[in-house]
Amino acid sequence: MSGILSEMKTPVSVLARGDLKLIVRDSTLVMALFGPIAITCLIFFLPSIEALVLSKISFDLTPYRSFIVVFLSLIPGMLFAMIYGFIILDERDEDVIDFISITPLRKRGYLTYKLIMPMLLSAGFFLFIIFASSLIQFNPVHAMGVSIMVAIEAAIGTLFLVAFSENKVEGLAFSKVLGIMYLAIPLVFFWTSGWHWLSAFLPPFWIAKAFVHSQMSSAWIWSDLFFGMVVHIGVLIFFLRVFLRKR
């Protein structure tokens, strides 16, 4: 009995094995990790870069350190969102999704699987960057909350690329627009006017807010985490609906 059970393959395990084969056979996806790893290295060398900039062009970067760390720690998430977005777009252009949608996994299962990977990877990189570099002090409880938002944000990025574009070329144009979302971070850090709240509908706004309040040990962090989660989940559900409605 147990033999039969172990021989039965769940759709997800088949899909995961397929992806693994793809990764091993095709070094591209292994090399795609290069971007996020390069960003991580950049953060680890940030103190040396700050010293270099100070000595060469006498510009002190240290007051901007928390901004730089927040900004860079979100870039791997954006890159993973793009990598998986383009995998989905490529597979859609080649009609792979149509074939999968008639298997027991269905379109929903396929999408869930393709979204969970960038979510796990981006949250993992985020926590690693924050705690392994220890360039800024960040309350671990707050960091866990923020890492959930980072994970959802990666799914949002992937869905944004695939929900609105017809093919990979349009996906590329949308990936340019996706970058604009991260404009909310400098706005939170540097725009002292109350007008910066105009960007509160952009998910990274709440991550930046949470960072700022956590650094100040302000109780507002809890409202940032709450509203941030609401905004992230709201945007996610909206994009998910758009994608699923698409044929």
Binding site: L52, I87, S165, V177, I180
Partner: protein, 230 residues
Amino acid sequence: MRLLTALGQDIRFQFRHGFYYAYLVLTILYILSLRLLPESLVYPALIIILFTDICALGFFFIGAIVLLERGQNLTQSLFVTPLRLHEYLLAKILSFLLLSIVSAFLIMLGGSVGGQDLLWFIFGAIFSALIYTLFGLVFAARARHVNDYFVKSLGIGLLISLPILAYLGLFDTPLFYIFPTRATLILLDTLGGDYALSEKLYSVANLLIWFTILSAWVYQRFDRYVRHPV
């Protein structure tokens, strides 16, 4: 005439796929950022915007376009028609040049940035846009999917951008003078900085040489992998 038709078709394709809308949004944001920056930072910011995005946009997009055309077997049918390979390639790079020039012009107009020596600057901007798209075409000829294109082109993209370190005053080496990007940055910077005539002439020669080498390379690769695929 065939070239004009191909060019019109490429521009229409880019328009339909939202490139012009995406760059309209980005152009507006760049103009706003330039207007908000302190006076002393406007020139360097403009040059970095032009260098990293506006002039380089062909590099970013060309991979997916060629992949889509190859995926739909468009290129095979295209080369049965009288359209020559060089016309096909020229239409690609000129259509991106148009998008680059229109956004660069709007950004400079909106940010009210101008300067002396505009002729050198315009030459630099035009040739860097052409060279970036050619670099992209080198990799697009053989890429299997979008991520493949990005991974292959990203390393070279980062490598040829190294002279930005010299522009920022962080690190310099005479080796950078081989890079096309060194020449680009000098010509773009003539807008605000003073350069000796010899440096400007070197930059023009550098870009012309790179343009010739890359054109020949792209032609050869497309002839081999796209026009006559095995």
